[in-house]
């Protein structure tokens, strides 16, 4: 099985040099820790490109934050802009890659990541714009829910974020690619068999 750190490192390998990348809140944020310095440009939808690491203690600025409202820094070559311009970048296809948390991913690449049926509405935030607009979308998630229900599914029954957008899914069991009828197994985590992964998936592994 992949640890969350291994998942983050694996996701980082999907980022080409010189890419513009938006990392979703939560686990995807950790992907930044595994990128070589200067390898990619991080975009934060609240209006920042060229996001740097967390500030040194004492240098926090409440008006320099990421979309998760954490204090961050800005690298040389970075820029700030308003929300309409930021989402123009996203919707317009200028952000190469989004790595987003997910609740369900379907065999056709549908993504559900903003609401649990019957649960508290947390809101949409930038999720729909990112999933729809970025040229490539990678989903990171646990392979099953806390109730052991599969999250790789034939068809999402959670509220959708966007349809036919996910190019790759990274879970603790491996790396999977939605291919229309199921998920192609790109890679299995150490010690995980195809049968084990298939048993925990709601759509065929191919």
């Amino acid at each position: 099985m992949f640890t969350t750190e291994m998942m983050a490192r694996r996701a980082a390998q999907e980022i080409p040099e010189g890419a513009i990348v938006n990392l979703g809140i939560g686990l995807p944020t950790q992907v930044a820790d595994h990128l070589p310095r200067g390898h990619a440009w991080l975009h934060s939808e609240n209006g920042l490109l060229g996001m740097g690491p967390f500030p040194f203690e004492g240098e926090e600025d409440a008006n320099l934050i990421n979309a998760g409202k954490q204090t961050v820094t800005v690298l040389p070559g970075g820029s700030t802009f308003d929300s309409a311009s930021s989402f123009a970048m996203i919707r317009g296809g200028h952000v190469d890659l989004a790595i987003l948390g997910a609740m369900q991913v379907s065999a056709t690449g549908d993504l559900a990541n903003w609401a649990v049926p019957g649960g508290k509405v947390m809101g949409i935030g930038g999720a729909m714009d990112l999933a729809t607009g970025c040229r490539r979308v990678i989903a990171m998630m646990q392979h099953v829910t806390k109730k052991n229900e599969p999250k790789l599914v034939a068809r999402c029954d959670y509220p959708l974020t966007a349809t036919a957008v996910v190019g790759l899914v990274i879970t603790e069991l491996g790396v999977f690619e939605p291919n229309g009828t199921g998920f192609r197994v790109v890679e299995l985590a150490p010690g995980v068999t195809r049968e084990q992964a298939a048993a925990l998936s709601g759509a065929p592994l191919l």
Partner: protein, 236 residues
């Protein structure tokens, strides 16, 4: 109103907020607690207007900022993109006290940009095939389906700028910019709260982030709390 671009600087938050009235739609800049017009937000509660429609990305958080409007019971409806851990909003949404319209963040920004730019409606791919599509016109353009989204104007915008000249030319600081400039363009009356007020000419024409044409009242508020939500740091 024609010819309102003189004498924009007012002496107090109370004066700045004098034109507010019950039932107005108010656009308030900020992303969570960052880039908030803090004194204007406090002033609206003291002003005593009610039945407001609030347009804001988050409607406050941690009981601070715009969450104080929720606690004061002056909001009938919130149009926002994200609620997250804003318990003041969750509670009132659950009780039905406050109606909530949740919109994708980019669509929210673009709807106000459209309002400011005289664009009554536009097509967007965001939300197609999701609940956001419910009740909206769709159109196929070049083989892809899009939603029609309407401009979202406001009666008043409350905006935080780091620097402002007397004509109302604005500069923002880092990600404190967020929704502030686009909201400033979308309201009939835009009120700016600035950290520093400078003479005309102090900001080079090329360095203006938002032109004063969009600004109607200015109040100078040198001190701000600038509250943190997550104070993340690294070791030296």
């Amino acid at each position: 109103m024609i010819g309102k671009h003189h004498d924009k600087v007012v002496g107090s938050v109370v004066d700045a907020l004098a034109p507010l009235a019950d039932g107005m739609t108010i656009l308030v800049g900020g992303f969570g607690l960052s880039g908030n017009p803090e004194a204007l937000i406090r002033g609206v509660v003291e002003r005593g207007v009610r039945h407001l429609t609030l347009v804001s990305n988050n409607a406050g958080n941690l009981g601070k900022g715009l969450a104080t409007w929720l606690k004061a019971g002056i909001i009938d409806k919130v149009i926002c993109s994200y609620i997250g851990g804003n318990e003041d909003l969750h509670t009132r949404m659950a009780s039905g006290e406050v109606k909530v319209e949740v919109t994708p963040q980019g669509t929210l920004a673009e709807r106000m940009r459209a309002a400011g730019a005289g664009i009554p409606a536009f097509y967007t791919p965001t939300g197609v095939g999701t609940v956001v599509e419910t009740g909206k016109e769709t159109k196929e353009i070049d083989g892809r389906r899009y939603l029609l989204e309407r401009a979202r104007p406001g009666d008043v915008a409350l905006v935080r700028a780091t620097m402002c000249d007397r004509f109302g030319n604005l500069r923002f600081w880092r990600t404190g910019r967020n929704f502030n400039p686009v909201m400033a363009t979308a309201a009939k009356l835009t009120i700016v709260e600035c950290d520093s007020l400078v003479p005309n000419g102090a900001i080079d024409p090329d360095d203006v982030h938002l032109a004063g044409i969009f600004v109607h009242r200015i109040v100078h508020v040198p001190e701000h709390e600038n509250a943190f939500e997550f104070r993340t740091t690294r070791k030296r």
